[in-house]
Point group: C2
Chain length 239, copies 2
């Protein structure tokens, strides 16, 4: 009788994986991970060199990523059968042996595994290994603490409307914006409206060997990877 | 020439420490950590059994914790010289050897080390090891994902006013409240005003062997440890 183990991999540097996740990954016989069609996959990249030589890999390739807007019903219509199918396959594998599902970041914080988890609850034993969030890796990489005293932290996704983004940006102390990518021009307009543009940082591939950290106001570059995170640090009370 | 290494220890379970933090702690010759006077200390407890036999320990005992309200100037007046003094001592130690400072949770997320960091920048080489936040440990322990789709996550401290808490609670999807302790009655009133009381969970000592997880509406217990975290899960879009 096996389990489905979701190993949170953290922000990208394999040395920031937990001891528990490291053991799960190195000992895995069956390893599943999400990726975009035609890509190696971020999660798979993080564990490169760690998998056992006899591990079987199961790339779970999204039928859609950014080609359809998330609020178009076609987006969910494409993804639901994909998750249904992989839930069935993982359940079958876990009847006899452990299966390790790799997840970059922290699995229960906007992670794709959550959609498998909802389908598999009650059908298999599931173990979730939490991890350092991408945002923690990014704010540490900036060299500035994110929250002081009783600073309020707000986490927003770039898919929200410009009005919603700017209102929420204006009312928080510390700010994280995730899922940036194509939404960057809208996020920048919202930061300006909220008076936070001059204090905003963009971190690309945080904690990875090729990480880049910029104040947004000093960037002249318009390559905006999906994994970029935008951060405004809190400035609260300090003795 | 030594460094000051701040090792984020994560939510409490030592198996959730990063590989890097684990190595730093086990290899440390000088280990400093915050604690309340007369207590063993949460950070020290997490690494119990991991320290080298010849490690020298430096308990940094807060001159004040909850005896003075955080908005009373006397609070900062008591803490500032304490942080000044320990910054000097750590700087002196780091002239010749590495010093590891233990921090529960993620150091740059409301961590006490930040106050030493602000004083030591430019005076010593400092390495911050990020960690799994206490809140990630807690939401994973509930068995429910914290954020779905484009859910907004707001993190609040229990030291905020009831009005501020309730307004912010009402306008977010997913919610975390930290530094609860004596603020619990106020936080509960704010949750009720915001219409989130029935969905709120309290997690005590999340990921530790004696963790407790309750829906707040089902609790009849009024022991509220400082390390309790309150969580309301988001319910956003999912395929």
């Amino acid at each position: 009788m096996g389990r489905i183990i979701c190993a949170g991999l953290g922000p990208g540097d394999p040395d920031l994986m937990s001891l528990r996740a490291d053991r799960a990954v190195r000992g895995a016989k069956h390893v599943a991970y999400f990726r975009k069609v035609g890509r190696f996959g971020m999660a798979r990249r993080i564990v490169d060199g760690m998998l056992s030589a006899d591990a079987t890999e199961y790339p779970m390739e999204y039928p859609v990523t950014v080609e359809i807007p998330v609020d178009d019903p076609a987006y969910n219509n494409a993804l639901a059968p994909f998750y249904d199918d992989w839930a069935d396959r993982l359940e079958t594998l876990a009847v006899t042996e452990d299966v390790v599902v790799l997840c970059e970041g922290d699995p229960f914080f906007y992670g794709s595994f959550m959609h498998l988890y909802e389908r598999l609850r009650g059908r298999a034993e599931i173990d979730i290994i939490p991890a350092i969030t991408g945002m923690s890796g990014c704010w540490t990489a900036t060299g500035e603490p994110i929250t002081w005293g009783d600073d309020v932290l707000t986490v927003l996704l770039g898919t929200l409307s410009e009005d919603d983004l700017s209102t929420r940006m204006a009312s928080t102390d510390a700010l994280v914006v995730m899922k940036t990518g194509k939404n960057i021009p809208k996020i920048i307009r919202a930061l300006k409206r909220a008076g936070k543009y001059d204090d905003a940082w963009m971190i690309k591939r945080g904690t990875m060997p090729d990480q880049e950290i910029h104040k947004i106001s000093e960037m002249d570059d318009d390559e905006n990877p999906y994994f970029a995170i935008i951060i405004v640090h809190g400035k609260g009370r300090r003795p």
